[in-house]
Symmetry: C3
Subunit: 415 residues, 3 copies
Amino acid sequence: RERWYEKISLRGYAQFRYNHTLNRDELLSNQGDRSIGRNNEFFLRRGRVIISGQPHERVFFYIQPEFASLVSGTEQVAALRDFYADLFLTENKEWRIRAGLSKVPYGFENIQSSQNRLALDRNDALNSAVPNERDLGIFLYYAPTAVRERFRRLVESGLKGSGDYGMLGIGIYNGQGPNARDLNKNKHVVFHSTYPFELPFVNHQMVEIGMDAYTGQYGVSASPVVPVNPSFFPAGSSSAGQAIPVAPVLRNGGNYLDERVAWHFVLYPQPFGIQAEYTIGRGPELNRDRTEVVTGSLSGGYVQLFYNYQCDTYCLNVFPFVRYQEYFGGRKSEGNVPRNSVRELEIGLEYQFNRALELTVMGTFTSRNSSDSQFDPVACTSFGNSPGVNNIGCLQTPYQRNSGNLIRFQLQWNF
Amino acid sequence: RERWYEKISLRGYAQFRYNHTLNRDELLSNQGDRSIGRNNEFFLRRGRVIISGQPHERVFFYIQPEFASLVSGTEQVAALRDFYADLFLTENKEWRIRAGLSKVPYGFENIQSSQNRLALDRNDALNSAVPNERDLGIFLYYAPTAVRERFRRLVESGLKGSGDYGMLGIGIYNGQGPNARDLNKNKHVVFHSTYPFELPFVNHQMVEIGMDAYTGQYGVSASPVVPVNPSFFPAGSSSAGQAIPVAPVLRNGGNYLDERVAWHFVLYPQPFGIQAEYTIGRGPELNRDRTEVVTGSLSGGYVQLFYNYQCDTYCLNVFPFVRYQEYFGGRKSEGNVPRNSVRELEIGLEYQFNRALELTVMGTFTSRNSSDSQFDPVACTSFGNSPGVNNIGCLQTPYQRNSGNLIRFQLQWNF
Amino acid sequence: RERWYEKISLRGYAQFRYNHTLNRDELLSNQGDRSIGRNNEFFLRRGRVIISGQPHERVFFYIQPEFASLVSGTEQVAALRDFYADLFLTENKEWRIRAGLSKVPYGFENIQSSQNRLALDRNDALNSAVPNERDLGIFLYYAPTAVRERFRRLVESGLKGSGDYGMLGIGIYNGQGPNARDLNKNKHVVFHSTYPFELPFVNHQMVEIGMDAYTGQYGVSASPVVPVNPSFFPAGSSSAGQAIPVAPVLRNGGNYLDERVAWHFVLYPQPFGIQAEYTIGRGPELNRDRTEVVTGSLSGGYVQLFYNYQCDTYCLNVFPFVRYQEYFGGRKSEGNVPRNSVRELEIGLEYQFNRALELTVMGTFTSRNSSDSQFDPVACTSFGNSPGVNNIGCLQTPYQRNSGNLIRFQLQWNF
């Protein structure tokens, strides 16, 4: 019998950050990095260990816990990111079924590993479609052997490819994301296509283009929020004169149509790279009066320019990059589904000391909506307890937009 | 010094399900599979990784986290199932002490691994004695070398044995189950016996019979529930006319006598198999008026018929099975300890593609009590918010019995 | 390419306890062992698995989940203790940076592994400075090669050394401990020094002395507590006549100066050992009236005498030990930061069967403050529900001091 350690292997990586807001403590992010803002702290963004292997020639398994999860107020608890099996339908592995908890093949950056991404967080437009990028479901992938070989080479050569999610893929999944249960009988359906190829007229220059789409019913939640035209607590009440928060009305038991289509284009960095994606669609969003969740349209995307500098000494590769991203639409994973308006410019540098160690520094010029339904600015959070704070004023700006700058440092180690 | 990977090994398995209720969304299960009912969803029932090894000739350790645990509303968090050590008292390993978090040797199906069980969930009667099958304690096991060899062979040959929990065993343990703390000074005591043997008059046909018993004090919890003869909110109250929920009275600080005895019989599938267990006992249960938790008697069991078809091609083994189970008694792990009445008929098929992959399909005809103390049918859960729903009617059927059919699919991969 | 199992290794240990209070159920501990008191139960104190390795000659990583964590009421959930990388600045590894979640080098016992410590829990004085001993931050360590070799030898020879946290160290870290987020912009700074050396006049007798210090701002939390001179609920109220709990006032947004200095001395057990530490400092504490958290001074330490008996047969080593410890000061990790007064005498024996198995028995004579802000004695916890219990009396002794004796047993297995 084969030894277990020949069939199973262990690897992983960590992303350890220091976040520094330059001019505005109210800068909180509801996308990716929950340590942004306020306290300029050290933060373990990702702590991943991956167990994978092939117990049978037709079966491959993959398990990835995230040791830096937040569970009910406790940081650094182990929660699953992936727990799936690939079942190869053909001997050449061109056709396979992936079952379990795995990434939903929607968008390029979503399926690219964070271990390889340049920007510290994923873009809002594509990532808000599949929070945490994963779900429980069954996916069918097809990729010809030649294309599979290209997917592999684009990752292993350090060109920051997405890995192999098929040249074509189709899947059904719950739709509420990982670490959650589905909220309706309707399942989401996703279609995925991407094609990496060598430009015939340039020396080995790789390009990838593709398109993805999904549709489903997403279950949203509501919590009290002060509407645009509020009622007020009557005189004599202990909250006299303050606006009364009301939970927005939800239709159809809270289940809303959620569908998007996306395009991506990648010019791999040999040495100059371009990466761009755009998405449009419609889904739930809080109406302007903040009284009801309705169906609205959304759009957004990003473009990233980057350069692959190969070092002679003291480092392996250096990647300067600049990315502009925007997103206009509801954020379905948040209570009340506030409509977000995000514009962000990021400039950074990834410095690879060796295969095991990277340092990234990134400056961000941001303007985005807060996810705080009640109190804004932050000084008002101790609502009702802080003498001298104008609580009414606070209450009347839920989901306020904040602009400002921040700088972040990330040390990544791979093993 | 020996290499670590020669002393320690890694293995595991996953159970990925799709649950489909055929005719009744109110079918929820308080036994095993929390995804039953309502939303027909994909669900990771088990995601197990096992680390075990022998750092010394007299010491064996075993660690099994469950990556599909529910912790405070978050799914797929890693919580322990096992973390124990076996201390071999004799060189031939016939006598050993097992200390730590491990399975309580009560019943056959409870100690059989879910990796090997045919039915998707354990039966109510035996499993309600030891929710999650495990506890913190110390156990003494004895098995002669010949019997140890039979235990091993009954698992490895695919005959779905229970593994080695001793021919005789005795143990003391907390009694509140894993992932919980004890609630009283009294410890539970369990006695275990089982004997696998070859029938002399049939060719190598294996049979196993045994008996188990335990006693202890179990700490129960109470929460408000509408009694059979309720009071009503007075006119003028915001809940005017509705029944008032009251927490049932608990005696002895909530600690109740909890003791059972059980018998099991297994005719191993060579190729036709029979497996049966029965338990009687007494323990806490909510009285008929729903006003107090008292001590009541309980009984239940199951019988399973199955067949072991060995494939020539395309598969390894196929096991068709049918199981009938019933249980009448309190469910101690639930708040208020409602008295359950469960009758269930299951028909299914386990198809083993290879040692790494199995697909099970199972139909269930069920009638069991809901664990919902307040609202039933499900449509009433949004109590107080849904205009047009008769909330009073809802409130008056806590722990209602639901009948219906469901079909479930399970893909299991082993590594 | 090198095999993964040559670069990465797995090990771990478990501590499984049985706690027995001899004469007082109210003995609860807010330091270390949360199973002390009341129910005399089996408890998994630690369940550790360590993954570590060297993916590059200049990079070492270390991951240690604690499988016995308590997360939101659920026991035995996996939460991180360590997740760090060592970056060696020099080829001889004398200088290194440690980044991520790791131990804060403050005190000897804090950085010594629990796997090696004799007493079942760390002392209050030093450990209350760094609850759970760890934090997110960056540390710079220096140790000459000869000293590094001594650190290694003092652990591997079974002399119960602390491991290598540098001869000199300096670090900045969040300050709120692991599994939490920072609550202010101010980071903690720590300075560490220790020096192990061979006494010239005794045969190979090793001695270690050192000094540590840190400073920072710690964010505390407040919750309602009955003050010394309380107001009372008015007649006619449902709580008529009872004292009204009030949350103490917090200054500076709850952030208080927190700084300490500590000294340690170790005479390694060859065969007779002495280990002693003392700390002084100042930090937040609840004032005497229980109305406000102020800055107060603190002090405490311990001295331990122990003996290293090397067995001929049936065991490896046996360590009898006696420890006296005391602490007077606020406990910053608790709500309201009650001022603690702790005096404890411990007598115990660690019996090492072999390298994989140890049994420790320890008796404790203790006098320490409860962490219960409202109800004391325990009989009052069902405040408002228990007829016949004098709730007012209960309420008026928050953080009461309890004295009593307990005996504990611990089985530890290493792998």
